[in-house]
């Protein structure tokens, strides 16, 4: 079986996000990028399936700064093929465009299963997975936290309150991974460095970017950050009274 994992890089929230001069975009120079956490889970789930005998794993990414490390790390975990798509990614790209690029390329790989992160924190125009599924004419199930493959896929789809639906999905399909069955494994740096010497990243040109379908951001702004806590005065009784008021105001009571 051919398992393909499209991944994307997202702003690392450890760094402060800076709004650029236009007021409508994040300043790219201030950004540190990291692999989308849910895509990391998708890679792990794909490797787990491979380890159970499912087949080959191909990881595909847009050619963005920092992506090489994510690809080599995936190879160190067991991914078989690493692919970068080159294109004009400099101005950031929305998920509608990325989904078109991925679908256009991935169809040439003829995968039976596509695993990708269910979402990313910088998504503003929906997730990549369901859009890719539509382009490829495949079924889509998101919020998946367990996958078994045979002639079909059996997936565990998460619902609120801890409920899970075990679902049957006809292949080929796209699954939006919420969590791999096991947390993404650790790869020692020595192994990644060794992999850099043996694994090869193939590059292919991405199709021309079509960005239609996403909203236009007119203004980015930061939500009001809380200052230090408003301190409630008085003894335990007085504080309790004030707390009950606060509970009422906020809808807790």
């Amino acid at each position: 079986m051919n398992i393909v994992v499209p991944i994307k890089m997202v702003p690392d929230l450890v760094e402060e996000l800076v709004i650029d001069a236009s007021g409508a975009r994040l300043d790219p120079d201030a950004l540190r990028l990291r692999l989308n956490e849910f895509d990391d889970h998708a890679i792990e789930q794909a490797i787990l399936l491979k380890e159970k005998g499912a087949g080959q794993v191909t990881v595909v990414a847009p050619d963005i700064e920092g992506v090489d490390d994510a690809l080599f790390t995936a190879a160190a975990k067991g991914a078989d093929r690493l692919i970068k798509l080159t294109g004009n990614w400099n101005n950031g790209v929305n998920n509608h465009a990325l989904a078109r690029v991925f679908a256009n390329f991935i169809k040439t790989l003829r995968p039976e299963l596509i695993l990708t992160g269910v979402q990313a924190h910088n998504d503003l125009d929906g997730a990549v997975g369901p859009q890719m599924a539509e382009h490829l004419g495949m079924a889509y199930v998101g919020y998946v936290s367990g996958v078994i493959v045979s002639d079909k896929a059996q997936v565990r789809k998460e619902f609120p309150g801890g409920m899970i639906a075990e679902m049957n999905v006809v292949l080929p399909a796209v699954l939006g991974i919420q969590a791999a069955e096991k947390p993404p494994r650790y790869v020692p740096i020595s192994k990644v460095r060794a992999t850099m010497k043996t694994a090869k990243i193939e590059t292919f040109p991405a199709m021309e970017l079509e960005t239609a379908g996403a909203p236009t951001t007119v203004r980015l702004f930061q939500p009001e950050t809380g200052a230090r806590a408003t301190m409630l005065e008085g003894d335990a009784d007085a504080v309790a009274t004030r707390l009950v008021e606060i509970f009422r105001e906020s809808g807790v009571l």
């Binding site: 125009d125 909203p215 930061q222 230090r228 003894d235 335990a236 707390l243 009950v244």
Partner: protein, 325 residues
């Protein structure tokens, strides 16, 4: 051009989710701006009764056996027709395990623009605007709600669910589903969460205790307070280590990350290992006798009283307030 706002209601196993009511509240504001109606769209099997408290001008109820469960395929095929036939100004979906499977697919299939992570709409006279919350809540993005038809995935927090509940049942009309045989996505069975296990990550009200609780007996006081509030007791690492609370109650780096409506932190200093797991709480209130405790840097309200003094009096006052309510 249609100025109606459609809301795709989310329901599962006999319950309508909170986000549906949030969306209805949002839709009302939007509809007021566009001059249209709020139409709740409900796909279901024998669940008309669930539509009774939806605050909508009309409910479009579509019956089919396939809607006994949620299947992305079934919803996609049905809503595709609904949207094409009605061309509403906007269609609201929950940015959830249900809406997430459907809206983005429809956006591509129908070539309709999609906004996700939307928290509120701004409709002050001019064209309506969306306000979305991205990057872990650290950034807000605002823009014009695309026209003529926009699909929107909504997150909670911008509107109270109560505002989307109606005292009187709305008008209900029936729509028809397309052929729904050969669904590629079907439910085999449901797995319920383990009974008796408390999952602090899913609770709305948490009474969290730290070292300040001092001993096992005082944990009782926290249990009573939590009960009065309709929440559960959680704890920071030292409390679990002492065996005063089960490990399932641990909140923190080596425990669970939580996002309750209320996180009442009692006797918790606010070490990074703990606070990193509570950052998504809607409201943090901290009680600690140490005024320099770092928990006060992230709490909205705080008080420098002894938690052991506070718990019993607060429990009593909450019970009184509920008795009167």
């Amino acid at each position: 051009m249609n100025s109606d706002i459609f809301v795709v209601i989310e329901h599962l196993r006999g319950q309508v989710s909170d986000i549906s009511y949030v969306m209805l509240a949002a839709a009302r504001g939007l509809a007021n701006a566009t001059g249209g109606k709020v139409i709740a769209v409900m796909l279901g099997h024998d669940v008309e009764a669930l539509a009774r408290d939806l605050a909508a001008d009309r409910v479009l109820y579509i019956e089919h056996a396939a809607f006994a469960d949620f299947s992305s395929d079934a919803y996609q095929r049905t809503l595709e027709n609904v949207i094409k036939e009605n061309a509403p100004r906007a269609v609201l979906f929950g940015d959830t395990t249900i809406g997430g499977d459907v809206a983005a697919w429809l956006s591509t299939h129908l070539a309709l623009p999609l906004v996700s992570a939307c928290r509120t709409f701004r409709a002050d006279g001019s064209a309506p605007k969306f306000v979305s919350q991205i990057c872990g809540g650290k950034m807000m993005a605002e823009g014009d709600l695309p026209a003529p038809t926009a699909l929107v995935l909504m997150v909670p927090g911008g509107y109270k669910p109560e505002q989307g509940r109606a005292a009187q049942a709305p008008e209900l009309v029936h729509g028809s589903a397309p052929a729904l045989d050969d669904l590629r996505v079907t439910v085999k069975e449901y797995i319920e969460p383990a009974v008796g296990d408390v999952d602090v990550a899913k609770e709305a009200i948490l009474v969290a205790i730290g070292r300040g609780v001092q001993n096992q007996d005082n944990v009782e006081l926290a249990e009573e307070l939590a009960k009065s509030l309709g929440g559960v007791v959680a704890g920071s690492r030292p409390v679990i280590d002492q065996g005063w609370l089960a490990p399932t109650r641990l909140v923190g780096k080596s425990g669970k990350a939580v996002k309750p409506k209320l996180y009442l932190a009692l006797g918790i200093s606010g070490a990074p290992e703990h606070t990193e797991a509570i950052g998504d709480s809607e409201m943090i209130i901290a009680i600690n006798t140490d005024p320099t405790a770092p928990i006060f840097d992230i709490a909205k309200f705080g008080a420098q009283v002894d938690m052991l003094d506070l718990m019993p009096v607060l429990t009593e006052q909450v019970q009184q307030a509920k008795g009167l309510a």
